[in-house]
Symmetry: C2
Subunit: 235 residues, 2 copies
């Protein structure tokens, strides 16, 4: 079965968590908008004939099924491609970690657009400075301290122990994004999260991930999407 | 089995989505902090001996298992108590809708605290006014238009059709909260979401929900938590 991924063609965004899972699984998929343009995504969401219309990109078409919500798509893919535990308790635990990553994504995005996604960064710069300060003072230590603890409990090197799961791919992506958006802050902070960085360093060496990151299928980071670089936010 | 719910005792917050599911299921549960104080929750999260430590409240203890993340807890309870479809596709579809509700909860909260949760409302009032305007201009029509469409597709009166699911309880709670926080705006807006209001009106008449809302177990809305009333945000 060839999956169809419906997501914006210009950004990594939330779609990237799905792309990484598909790539690591060696799954057959089409990134629809990269082939046919963003209009294909707009049309898909504007006229959903599906019984289960998704709310917003990303969505995955798997045969006759359409699945929305990033973490939900990963739940589905994880079970099908050995990227999550098979037992219910283990699958829900992986998913729980993914939902915590989803929460983190909102906070990362809101460092540069706290007030509204409909106004320019420049119009909300004081709020962005304040939000960014609080993110690094409170959120980052709490989130990363948590993931450090989870790896310690599992025995590592991955979040669930010795086997890679889709959650590791997502955490890898978070680190990549934070390094793009906050290179100076990350340089200082990374020593406080040695196990997460070790996990990142394992993921980036996996053959399929190496091939993906080198390919044209990987969209570069940019000033759109979740992670954006603004010098003043990076101190 | 008696469940233990670990959530803050002073607010409905995200714990309320879990409480409503437990109540509708007629499940045996203890709202731990309401019995033993908020310190019981703090202690639970500060020293998690569990193999799967949750990141933040709410968490549900079910026998030897500890489950975190609101939508994940509901996924678990839905399967056990007939509050979600039994087949995998149906269960994931219900969960997908719940994740969209979770996204909405963040946007509702951020109407009054867009800049940071660590500063007072009064210090971020201009940003709150802007965020609230955008919420009602863009988010509410999109979210509620979506849920209207989902009900139309399922045939109603509930989101998944003729049978109530935990997602309906959560959408009911969203309406209750919006009416508390934005009474004037809701009065004008509700005519644009007739199916969602009809769903709300069915949920509020269910015997176990009636009993719960009258009981002391239901914490009143207040100026803490997700939904807060500020006259200037309500136009």
């Amino acid at each position: 079965m060839r999956y169809e991924l419906y997501y914006w063609p210009e950004i990594q965004g939330r779609g990237e968590f799905v792309r990484l899972a598909l790539e690591e699984a060696g799954a057959d998929y089409v990134d629809v908008a990269r082939k046919r343009g963003r209009k294909a995504v707009e049309a898909f969401f504007a006229r959903p004939r599906e019984r289960h219309p998704p709310y917003a990109p990303p969505a995955l078409k798997a045969g006759s099924r359409v699945i929305g919500q990033t973490a939900n798509i990963l739940f589905y893919l994880g079970a099908r491609h050995g990227l999550a535990p098979k037992d219910q308790a283990g699958a829900l635990w992986a998913h729980q970690l993914q939902l915590t990553i989803a929460d983190m994504v909102v906070h990362i995005h809101d460092t540069h657009h706290p007030v509204s996604g409909w106004i320019y960064y420049e119009e909300q710069k004081p709020a962005a400075l304040r939000r960014t300060a609080d993110f690094w003072r409170y959120r980052m230590p709490k989130f990363m301290g948590y993931f450090e603890r989870v790896i310690a409990k599992s025995g590592g090197p991955y979040l669930l122990g010795r086997r890679l799961s889709y959650v590791d791919l997502s955490l890898f992506q978070i680190i990549e994004g934070l390094r793009y958006a906050f290179p100076r802050r990350m340089k200082r902070f990374e020593k406080r999260m040695p196990s997460v960085i070790a996990l990142h360093d394992l993921v980036i060496k996996r053959p399929r991930i190496v091939a993906y990151l080198k390919s044209e299928r990987r969209i570069p980071f940019s000033q759109w999407g979740i992670y954006r670089y603004f010098k003043e936010l990076d101190q």
